[in-house]
């Protein structure tokens, strides 16, 4: 069961050199049925990562570039009157894909953003009273530039919660960058990628992730973390954040061939899951969510 996951992770790592941890987190997010937010400067390989993931899984892939004039209908689709049939026909938007890459999600207006996030949460779209199911598996990777960039609409706090993880790719280290410079063109590499898993296997693995055992002791630790966050910060981790932490760590445990979750799994995914949910603390401005999450993980004792 883990073999395809291993092969899959390995293949992605070959494309995205020197970012093993970020790649693994991305895979974990995918396996946990969560959506991924990548926050980083342009040109570090966000798109490449998304494409590599899609190709290796043989998923239907769509890419949407968000701009300030993008309307919800542009991504969801719209109904157009068909003269021949004398009725409205729904034309599906680019969101109807198994893997969707949203580039620069914070460039669109709040309206478009919330349309997207609602679809992400519900896995379905309602237009004109008709509900359209999104395909399975459905995985959204959104990228955004750091908040201070000009002309952006930062995602509201409540909606950041919809992303299971937020990761940063960052500039590769010197050796990796050199390897990248010397190696094959990424674009060619992507073309040569062979699918290692079909979507059905992926759904099976996603189901298995939920079955990874979380013992009472582990749940104690998880709740201690949530509790500590709520005590220290006015906007502590929500119950949804708790679920996210649990699912992500289950995926992480499965990726490491374990049938049970360990505190280490929570710690491994902890920053990616918690940082963007803790970044809005009024009491401790100037402290990034990352630091806060890190503080939590390094102060709450493992029971």
């Amino acid at each position: 069961m883990t073999d395809p996951v291993d092969a899959f992770t390995k293949q992605i790592c070959e494309v995205i050199v020197g970012k093993n941890q970020a790649v693994k987190l991305a895979v974990a997010s995918l396996l946990a049925r969560g959506h991924l937010l990548i926050e980083d400067i342009p040109g570090v390989g966000k798109t490449t990562l998304a494409q590599a993931l899609a190709r290796s899984l043989a998923l239907a892939f769509q890419r949407i570039q968000f701009t300030s004039d993008l309307l919800p209908a542009d991504i969801l689709g719209n109904s157009i009157f068909d003269r021949g049939e004398q009725r409205f026909v729904f034309h599906r938007g680019p969101l109807f894909a198994q893997m969707v890459l949203i580039d620069e999600v914070n460039r669109a207006t709040a309206k478009t953003q919330s349309a997207l996030l609602e679809a992400m949460e519900e896995h379905r779209i309602s237009i004109d009273g008709v509900t359209y199911e999104l395909p399975e598996p459905f995985f959204v990777i959104a990228t955004q530039n750091p908040q201070h960039a000009v002309g952006t609409f930062p995602l509201p706090e409540s909606q950041l919660d919809r992303f299971l993880m937020r990761i940063e790719l960052g500039v590769p280290d010197r050796a990796s960058e050199r390897a990248m410079l010397l190696g094959m063109d990424r674009r060619d590499m992507l073309k040569e990628l062979k699918p290692v898993m079909n979507p059905r296997t992926l759904i099976e693995i996603q189901d298995n992730v939920r079955k990874v055992h979380a013992s009472p002791a582990l749940l104690d630790y998880l709740q201690d973390l949530l509790d500590a966050s709520r005590q220290r910060h006015i906007t502590g981790l929500s119950p949804r954040a708790g679920l996210a932490l649990m699912h992500a760590s289950q995926a992480w445990a499965l990726m490491h061939g374990r049938g049970m979750v360990l505190p280490e799994d929570i710690q491994a995914v902890g920053i990616a899951v918690m940082a963007h949910r803790l970044g809005h603390d009024i009491e401790q401005p100037g402290q990034s969510g990352r630091t806060l999450a890190d503080n939590l993980l390094h102060s709450v004792p493992v029971p």
């Binding site: 509790d227 709520r230 005590q231 009024i282």
Partner: protein, 311 residues
């Protein structure tokens, strides 16, 4: 919450009665050389002694977790929701939760099955504004015989916030634009134009209550005048012509509640702190929190509580 190391055992009132009965039995047995009474005496003594470990074990594996408390106003009741968890493999009986030094109710939990939790709420009157440490929580149990009580202490770092008591007679200031120049703010006059009725807020002046409506059997309503029905409000600590700091804080608290209820944006100015006008629950609570923490040092512990902890 971590349990304190030393458990406390103390006798209950019933223990005196037991001692008396044991004494009577002993006297009767020894004066009559009555073997059967001796047997009764020793049986009762032994049963009492054996009940001690039973009482001790009744709290073993039982822990208490405080959940976050809703803020309250002075004069109202603080309610601390908490969860008593039984981690052991046996049912626990008759556990009481107490907060030393508070004179509220002691919730009693009749039983908690193995590996289950019970939720109770600890209620006691809020006496002083500010942020308070819960400090030490006690679980006590006298099960099974009630002659001795066993007490287990839990230290908590949880705090709860108490807002100042909303009261005062000063009318809501009329709207004006906040002037950065800092001209002394004039005491706002009252508008003359009757603008409608709104619900009476407990603690506010009774001058404008629509008594005629009350006489008709309607709830308490306050007449609202045109002056307060529009615009942004700015509540200024310095502008209030009241002597006592607490009085001022109470008045400000009342105003904030009124403004929030009237859905009018309001700002707050305190010495060394200023909150720009806004509206909504987060803003409301931020303002009240600022008021309650005004001139109060960091989390403040009840003197009684700290004495308990020292003991």
């Amino acid at each position: 919450m971590k349990a304190r190391k030393l458990p406390l055992i103390y006798p209950t009132a019933g223990f005196a009665g037991l001692l008396f009965v044991l004494g009577a039995m002993w006297y009767a047995a020894s004066s009559q050389n009555n073997t059967a009474v001796y047997l009764l005496l020793f049986a009762l003594t032994a049963v009492f002694l054996v009940s001690i470990p039973h009482t001790l074990i009744n709290l073993a594996g039982v822990t208490v977790t405080l959940e976050s408390a809703q803020p309250t106003f002075v004069g109202q009741e603080v309610s601390l929701p908490l969860e008593v968890m039984n981690d052991s493999r046996a049912t626990r009986h008759g556990i009481e939760v107490a907060l030393p030094g508070s004179d509220g109710e002691h919730p009693r939990i009749d039983y908690i099955p193995a590996r289950k939790a019970a939720r109770v709420t600890l209620r006691f009157p809020a006496r002083q504004r500010g942020e308070h440490n819960v400090g030490t929580l006690c679980l006590t149990s006298a099960y099974p015989l009630g002659f001795i009580r066993f007490l287990k202490k839990f230290a908590s770092s949880r705090t709860y916030i108490v807002y100042p008591k909303p009261e005062g007679d000063v009318r809501l200031p009329s709207s004006f634009m906040h002037r950065r120049e800092g001209n002394p703010l004039t005491e706002p006059g009252e508008g003359d134009d009757f603008a409608g009725l709104r619900e009476y807020v407990h603690g506010e002046s009774q001058r404008h209550i629509d008594w005629r409506a009350v006489a008709r059997g309607q709830p308490l309503m306050t007449k609202q005048f045109a002056a307060e029905a529009e615009g942004v409000l700015y509540f200024d600590f310095f502008a209030l012509r009241l002597v006592e700091v607490e009085e001022k804080l109470s008045q400000l608290t009342l105003w904030i509640i009124e403004a929030e209820r009237a859905r009018r944006p309001y700002g707050l100015r305190l010495p060394g702190n200023e909150i720009p006008p806004a509206i909504g629950q987060p803003h409301f609570h931020e303002c009240l929190r600022t008021l309650s923490l005004f001139q109060v040092e960091t989390p403040h512990t009840d003197p009684i509580l700290s004495s308990v902890r020292r003991a």
